[in-house]
């Protein structure tokens, strides 16, 4: 059954919780509803033309040009951890252990996730996952026009990701989800996934114990076996969630 009544709200990003996830999962596998949502989104993106135009301040362009020439860091504006020099020596053993642990965890996650077949999940499984307490994160297509994703992170560490609008990749490439943590240059993977010919996918993921220590969630394109750290542009990204 098509969630006709909810498609417009879904296109506007105005659904949340289990209902939003259920609609997202349906749209990811239904060509008819996917087409309607795509049209709603295109129409919605034209709505600002109905506003009375206001000119931007003259200095805005100069600032944009200056920063474009400099080349921004990939994680634009994200604060880097400030570690004072006196602490660095004492921090090294701790950081080394931490990084080693994370690398091992990444490998375990990779193996676990690659065992799972990608593709749409059955409805009851989506609903069962969605009933668990958790948080919903919307990833915007910052590096991929028209792409978006909804990530559901259950409090016990499980979760799933519904993606639309990503370009299908050749066999030697894959998409990879990343959780970028606060206060250290540690990044952990949530898994790899591929999208179907329509740019849609649904994937089970493993989420860090707490999103409170995560400052950004991103999706990048990586080699088919996955990477230990992101090497590509952030195609999807979220830096704020409830």
């Amino acid at each position: 059954m098509h969630p006709t009544e909810n498609l417009a709200a879904h296109a506007l990003g105005a659904l949340e919780g289990p209902e939003g996830i259920s609609v997202e999962a349906h749209v990811a596998t239904c060509a008819t509803c996917g087409s309607v949502v795509e049209q709603y989104r295109a129409v919605a993106s034209a709505l600002p033309m109905g506003l009375d135009p206001v000119a931007p301040p003259p200095e805005a362009w100069a600032a944009i040009r200056a920063k474009a020439r400099q080349g921004r860091p990939p994680a634009d504006g994200w604060a880097k951890a400030g570690v004072r020099p006196l602490w660095r020596r004492a921090m090294w053993p701790v950081l080394t252990t931490l990084v080693a642990s994370l690398l091992v965890w990444n490998v375990v996650l990779q193996r676990e996730l690659t065992r799972r077949a990608p593709g749409p999940a059955p409805g009851p499984e989506v609903e069962a996952l969605s009933r668990r307490p958790g948080r919903l994160v919307i990833l915007a297509g910052t590096g991929q026009p028209g792409a978006s994703a909804r990530l559901f992170a259950a409090v016990d560490g499980g979760g799933h990701l519904a993606i639309s609008g990503l370009t299908p990749l050749p066999g030697e490439r894959t998409y990879q989800l990343w959780f970028i943590r606060t206060g250290a240059s540690t990044t952990v993977t949530g898994g790899t996934f591929r999208v179907n010919s329509r740019g849609l996918a649904w994937a089970k993921i493993i989420v860090p114990a707490s999103l409170d220590e995560v400052r950004a969630i991103a999706v990048t394109e990586e080699p088919a076996q996955g990477s230990m750290a992101p090497t590509g542009t952030h195609l999807l990204e979220a830096t704020a969630w409830r």
Binding site: L15, A46, L47, M49, L51, V54, A140, G143, G165
Partner: protein
């Protein structure tokens, strides 16, 4: 822009900078924050130009999506300013004409204005709270004191009306 030509970025800014600033200002209600969104939108577009796929939509829609997401993120991360915005309608900034638009752009703008004016006020309100306010259907229902089902119906009806009028104008532009 996809090949990193700065003049392309400047041309895009000249054409869409005003529209994106207008959108950002409508959402965040503060000129400084709107400028922040404007700058971030174009820089993100610049950074992500290699990944841009014209088959999946035109540049203005892409930039508008980035701007809206960034503006709503800002709005949500600054609850005090959001409350301020809700209490006080935007004032102090006079509408100024932006740079002249291309003909097709003007035609689409007129169609959007006309289509929005043709919506019943309640439907338009539901759309604006969702699109510009970043509110969920549940939040809109709570704010307006209406049943959730009523808000969903209004949203769907409004989007259907807009789609019927605007999609035929947008579709050939996407495929062009």
């Amino acid at each position: 822009m996809q090949v990193g030509d700065e003049s392309a970025l400047e041309a895009l800014y000249g054409r869409y900078g005003g529209l994106i600033f207008t959108l950002a200002l409508r959402i965040v209600g503060d000129p400084e924050l709107a400028r922040e969104v404007l700058q971030d939108t174009f820089l993100r577009g610049w950074d992500g130009r290699d990944a841009y796929d014209s088959a999946r939509g035109r540049v203005p829609g892409w930039l508008m999506g980035i701007a809206r997401n960034r503006a709503i993120d800002l709005l949500r991360s600054r609850p005090h300013q959001a409350r301020l915005r809700e209490r006080e309608p935007l004032g102090g900034l006079a509408s100024e004409p932006v740079q002249p638009d291309a003909t097709d752009f003007i035609m689409l703008r007129r169609a959007v204005v006309s289509a929005l004016r043709g919506l019943p006020i309640a439907q338009r309100q539901a759309i604006e709270l969702a699109y510009y306010g970043g509110h969920t259907q549940v939040e809109i229902a709570r704010e307006l004191g209406e049943p959730l089902g009523t808000i969903k119906s209004r949203t769907r009806q409004a989007m259907e009306l807009l789609r019927a009028v605007l999609w035929p104008l947008i579709e050939p532009r996407r495929e062009a």
